[in-house]
Symmetry: C2
DNA sequence: TCGATATATGAAGGGTCCTTCATATGAAGT
DNA sequence: ACTTCATATGAAGGACCCTTCATATATCGA
């Protein structure tokens, strides 16, 4: 078994009890795992669905265009046309990007005639951006 | 000029004053831009370098594997071996992922003999994850 | 109703990057 | 010194996705 094989089975208890005195090269096992710490960390982790959803949200905000849209909307409500002007990009890019943000509930919009006004969906997003900016702007030694 | 062309030049003042009474089909211009709002939003936005750096950070955390690593490390310090076991993935994936997080100052590590213990680099990251989780776990109507 | 405007969407191409496999480095034990 | 173990790293391929171009939908004005 290659060294880099997944190590999930190690902590599962559905395997028969290990025979004693087996040789190291016969089993796929690592020696340095602190099973107690691993179990505790696993217990402290959020639900897998939450992690998946958060990953999708962060990935969406991880794109420069979409992040610029979000930071712009953190200041004020703007229409697609304003956003295209502000970013210096095409209406198509803005619209596609806003759709992604919309589907992830990061932004919301209201329509007024032909004009669609976008804004951040909820205060968490603005808070997340603020903390993220604090992080990246932090002084390093 | 196509409809979806970039609209950056509109707000720049380096162009000669527009001749009066020019016909609409001769110029590349949108009508619905609220220039005042755009300027205000632009002024409120963080520095471009900050946005770029934040995008890189969020993109890194937007990968499920790396996000799971980060949430695990939010609970406690763990070594590479623990993390591979916890995630049920290979040591190679964990090591590559940790390198990305390390380069972005999201995690840090200390070496003790052969073992590398990783932890979150600073409290901002944990706060960001907590707010992000609040966001995705929020009840929707 | 016809044209113009604002926005949305579909398809496609090209670049990015995540995973895998293989190997390297470096420390500890014998 | 040599082996073993923990971790790091390089290369490659295949999937994913961002941008662009083209077009569709819908609203307003004449």
């Amino acid at each position: 078994m290659p060294v880099n094989a997944p190590r999930a089975a190690i902590l599962r208890n559905d395997a028969p009890p290990a025979p004693s005195r087996r040789r190291k090269e016969d089993v796929c096992e690592v020696q340095c795992v602190d099973e107690l710490k691993v179990r505790r960390a696993r217990g402290a982790m959020p639900a897998p669905e939450s992690v998946t959803a958060l990953a999708a949200t962060l990935k969406a905000l991880g794109d420069p265009t979409r992040l610029r849209l979000a930071t712009a909307l953190a200041a004020t409500e703007l229409c697609v046309c304003d956003l295209a002007t502000l970013l210096g990009t095409s209406q198509s890019v803005v619209s596609h990007s806003l759709r992604t943000l919309r589907q992830l509930r990061i932004v919301r919009y209201r329509k007024e005639g032909r004009v669609a006004y976008y804004s951040l969906d909820d205060p968490h997003v603005a808070a997340l951006l603020a903390i993220g900016l604090d992080h990246v702007e932090e002084e390093r030694e």
